[in-house]
Each structure stands twice: as structure tokens, then as C-alpha cells.
Amino acid sequence: MSDAKPKTLAGETVSLIVFLVLLGAIVATFAVLNEGFRTAGNVLNLLKHMAVIAMVGLGLTFVVVAGFADMSFHFVSCLSGMTMSYMIACGVSPVPSILVGCGVGLAFGVASGLLVGRFKFPDMVATIAVGTIAWGLAYLYSDGSYIFENFRSSGILRLNDSRALGVPLPVILMAVAYGLGYLLLHRSAYGRRFYATGRNAVAARFSGVRVERYVTAAFVICALLASFTNMIQIAAQGNGNVKGGLSLLMPAYATVFVGVSVFKKPTVVGTFFGALLIAVVQNGFTVMGKPFYYMNFVVGLVLIVSIVISRVDFREMLRRRRLRAEMARAGNAS
């Protein structure tokens, strides 16, 4: 038992090195193929794009750590984004608009969290149902058309455009969110309890973890971060669109599971690397002038490859091969 710990650490390090080499190779390929990729402006764009994917992924990480799946956050983010856009259009200043939008997201996060955590509803069905209701509500503000009144004059665009010391605001927000997320999930007792809930909810309950609260908290964090991310997207596009948040679903799952393929469990750092990988690939294709569906194709492929890699245990494979060879040798000898 005593030597179990260093072994797993070594395994993680190996897969992390493999991942970083792969990432480096991808970056090098893009940089060689395309001059536009290596400009400083493009690196900032890449980071901004990464901030969007990374923050949604961070929220989803909590849900996956708690052992569930959320199929509502992208729908909920549409509703809270439209709420914010509508308030901006009515002449409310940005900060209260953002807060109210996040409040709507929070309410729906609490709803799915309570349904799944407290009332033990099946997670997939309950969250899809909650999400469908949220999506229907998102149409109420404008019958589904774009909202862009007051966007320029109100200053909401600064959420995406403003910089501090040359670093775009979304990137700073991402850094803050990841710092807090890391402390919460990996450096505090709360984080341990999230993992305990996901591993074995019954055991966690008997160990004194209030499982319902942790599950609800996970869904709330996920809905909140997704809502906020969609607001950044809206600020970047300059208009509120009902379907804008739907595109968050796939990258969010991709970031989390690229992270799982590296660290063998959902972690904050893994999700960060996943977001980095996906942002690099998507940005590379955008700079090369490929249409959006190439990026979807690549994200899908990255996800498939990371599934394959995460399930292949190289050391185990080597050990088995050695065993088989030894057995064959023994058979020949006798």
C-alpha cells in the first residue's frame, strides 16, 4: 500500500508530459503554417476565446466531480444572457443588469440542484426539463430576435473590451475564477467533500457530508459560471441572441474530459489544460480562415482521442505483454 502513492503520481506526470508535448507540437504546427498565429494580438484573442471556454468548463467540473451530468447550463445561460440584454435595452446600467442576469442563472441552478440533490430525480432528465423551461422563457423578452439597443452607450461592451495592464478583462476574470476554483476544490475540506460525494454518496453521507448541499452547490456554480460566460460572449458580439449560449455545451464537456484524460479524474488544472488545447486548435483554424464547422469537427475529434487515451493504461499494457512473453518462454522451456 505504501508505494501506491508515488506510482499514481508518476502516471499523472507521464500523461501530463505527453499532453504538453502534443500541445507544443500543435502550437508549433500552427505557428509554422501561419504567420498570423504568432502575432501578439492573436495570442490575446486566443486567451480571450480561451477565457470563455475555460470558465464554462470550470463550472461543469464541479458537477462532474460531484458525480452528475448537467444538460441545463447552456439553456440557462441563454435565459440569463437575454435577461441582461433586455435590462440594458431598458436603460439599466451594466452592473445591476449583470447581477440580475446572474441571479436568474442562480435561481435555475438552485432548481436543478435541488431536484437532483434533494429530491433524487434522475439528473439528465431533470436538468433537460429545467433547461427547456429556461429556454422557453428566454424567448419572452424579444420573441427570439436580437437585442442590441443601448449596447454601445451603456458600456456593457467594456466587459469584453477593457484591459488592465494590457491584459483583457475576460482573461483576468478567468484567472481569478481558476484561482478560487483551485483553492475550493483542491486546497480545502469542501473540495474533499465534493470528491467524496462523487465517489460514493452513501459513504460520504455516513461520514457526515451533507451530500444534498454539495450537489446543489455544484449545480449552482455551474449555472452561475455559464450565465456569466454567456454575458461575456454577448458583450463580445454586441447583441443578445437567444441561441448564443447553446454553443457552450460541447466545449464545456470537451474541456472537462480532456482534463479527465490527462489526470484520470475531473480536476481544475485538467480543465484548464483542456480549455487551452481547444482554444489553441479553434484559434488556429480561425486564423487559417476555415469556417466554424471545422472547429466543431476538431473539438469532436479531440474529445474522441482524449477518451481513447484516457482509457488506455500504457503501463498495464506493457506489464501484460511482458507477462505473456514470460509465459510463452516458460511454455517453450518445458
Partner: protein, 337 residues
Amino acid sequence: MSRLDSHLGRLFRAQYVLIWVLLAMVLVFSLAAPGFRGAGNLLKTVRASGLIAVLVLGLTWIVASGEIDVSFPAVAGFASVVTVMCVKQGVPWAVALLVAVAGGTIFGLLSGFLIVTFRCPSLIATIAVGSVARAVACMIAGGGKPVHLGGVPRVIRFLGSGSVGAELLLISIVVAIYVVFRYMQDCTTTGQHLYALGENRQAALEAGIREKKIVLSFFTLSALLASAGGVLWVTLFHQGKPRMEGTLFIDGLTAVFLGALIVKAGKPNVIGTLIGAIFLSVLGNGLTHLGVKSYVGDMIKGALMLFGIVVIVLSRYRLTRKPGARRPRPAAAALAP
């Protein structure tokens, strides 16, 4: 007399509530909207439900066996685009249809392979495969916009014409598929294995059920039926749509989960899905005739799904009286690594 009572009581049990709601809904819509009760419109409504019904038939069994498939709209979109592009290139429509269904089935094989061989959570595998399928459909269509059939072949024009003969033909095809699947579900061992897997995966494995083979074939079947739905879409609307997400996704899953309320309480089943699809189609059509906006329909669907879960969970409570004695959540089991 008491016997009659018990028979009547059986008709009003939880698993038949939705059928009564459906009948009440038809009645209310017929009284409120004159446009709804015309024979032509009723026929159209039933036929429209056939599209969803075929699309999610495979998904029904996947959910019943404790997995999930979210790639069905993407696969249907892929099949519709392939059909349209083939017909545009001058390929005979029958061949185009076969090519589209075969192409779509490959995606099902791929996700089944990922799930069975690499023990990947089915949600993740189908999200990945679905995004690839959607991207490939966009590449074939040359963009995200729907592609239209130029010259519509005679057979497709007849099927999409809305004449009584065409409607009856389409309905009878759907009914034939459902009869076959109903037989397989309730009268063969495959059907039993499917519910055994959903009930207790470990016990089913110990009992010697060949889980991998069954799961792989279900995902292939689901993609095959989703592609068939995509081809059906082309015959009805004369266009191929690479990006079928949003409404189709919600409708499909709602049909399956509402269907889980009927006949076998709490378990998705073939007849339930058919009734669920008809239910959604009647709801959509009736609301349109009443002049209600379509997003209200979306909200009602979400509320119905929640209502369905509440009914199932409450009826389980009453059956077992112990909150801890319920069966494990299928969706959570599907995600567990």
C-alpha cells in the same frame, strides 16, 4: 361490482394518466380551434408525430438500458444532407436513401465502439460523435444553411404532397416498424436483457448477459433509426438540414421521457414513445391553431417532463416506502467512469 371497480381503477393508474391527458387535450383543442378538428389536420398531426417517433425509437431502448444518446439530431441532420446532395448529383433516390442510412449508421457504430471498448461514459461519447457528425454534415452541405432539393423525384414529391394516400402510407410504415419493435421488446430475450441491464448492470453481467454486444447493437440501431428519420425529414420538407439541434433534441428526449410514464411505469418503452410522440405533435399543432407562440410550447414540454418525473418518483415512494430502496439513477450510472 368490485371487479368492475378494480378494472376501472386500473385504467386510472399512474401509468395511464398521460393517455387521459392526451384525450382531454384533443377534446379541448377540437372545441377551441375549428382548424384543429378537420380530418386533414388530424391526419397531418399523426404523420408529423411519425417523424419524431422513428427518430427516437432507438434512443428509447438506449435509455431503458441505462445509457444515453444525444447524437441523434446530428445523425438525422447528416442523413438528410447526404440524401439531398446525392439526389442533386443525379443518384437515384433509392440509392441515395441507402447511402444516407448507411453513412449515418457508421456514427452509431463509432459511439458504440467508444462506449464498449474504452468504457467511455455514453453522454461524452455521443456528444463527441454528434459534434463530428454535425461538422461533417456542414462540410458536405458547404455551410450551416439548409440545402434544398432542386428537382424533386416523383416518389418524394408524392410522399411529401400531403394527400391522404401518402399520409396513410407513411403512417403505416411507422406502425409496421413499431409492431416489429414492440414484438422484439416484449416477446424476445433481447427485450428482457435490455431491461435487465437498465435495472441492475452488475447483476445482468453476472447472469451472463452479453452486455457489450447488446450496447453496441443498440447504439448502431439508434443511429440507423435516426438516419431513417433524417431521410423522412427530406421527404416531408424537401430539404436537408445540417444543424438539427434545439427543438428536435428537446422533442426527441421529451417523447422518450414522457413515454416512460406510460405502460411500464418509469421505464422507457416502445409504445410509450409512440404515444409520447403523438402527444407532442398534438400539443404543438393545437397550440399553433390556438395562435400561441411556439416557445410557450417549449416551456410546456419542460413542465410536462418535470411532471412526469414527479409522478414516477412519487409512485416509487408509494411502492417502496423507503427512499433508499429505489433503483440507481440510470443517467448517473451512464456518466460514472
